[in-house]
Symmetry: C2
Subunit: 101 residues, 2 copies
Amino acid sequence: MAEFLPEPRPDEMDLLMVLSALADPHRLRIALALAKAPDAVLPCTAFELPVTKATRTHHFRILREAGVIRQYDHGNGRSNQLRLADLRQRFPGILTTLLAG
Amino acid sequence: MAEFLPEPRPDEMDLLMVLSALADPHRLRIALALAKAPDAVLPCTAFELPVTKATRTHHFRILREAGVIRQYDHGNGRSNQLRLADLRQRFPGILTTLLAG
C-alpha cells in the first residue's frame, strides 16, 4: 500500500521555502507539469530530467518539504501530485502565476 | 532629473528569474515592503537590511533585472518602486501570493 511521505501542513508552509523550491529550472519544470495536470499522480520517472537519479530524488524532496507536492511511496518507487487545494488555500494566486509564466 | 535604470519589458520577464529574485530573504523583504505600499517610491536606504551597501545595491539590481522593481537614479542615490501593473499583467496572481505569505 502506498504511503504518504512527510509534508508540511498548510499553516506550516513558508513563502520563502516555496519560492526557493520553485526557483530552480528542473523543479519549476516538475511543478509546471503537475500544475497543468493537477489531478495527475505521476511517478518520478515520468519527468524527463537530464539529471542523475539521486539529483532527481533531491529535487522532488525539496518540492515536497516546501509543500508544493505530495509524494506517495510505493516501495519500489514514488509518485507525485501537486497539492492544489493546499497551495490555493495558503498562497492564493500562485498557480495562476505559474501557469502564466 | 531622475532617470530610469535599465529594466526588462513585461514580455521579456522570465518566471524563473522572478522566482529566483524573490527566493532570498532580503529581496523578499524588499518586495513585500513595496507590495504593501505599491504607490511608494522609496530610497534604498529606507529598507533596513543587515548587509553592506554593496550587497544592498546588488539585491536591488537583481530585483530590477527580473522586472520586480523599477529603479530611479537620482545621481546621489536610487529610489525604488514595485512594477505593480507590469507584474499584474505578466504574472497575474503573484502579488496575491506575496501578500498571502
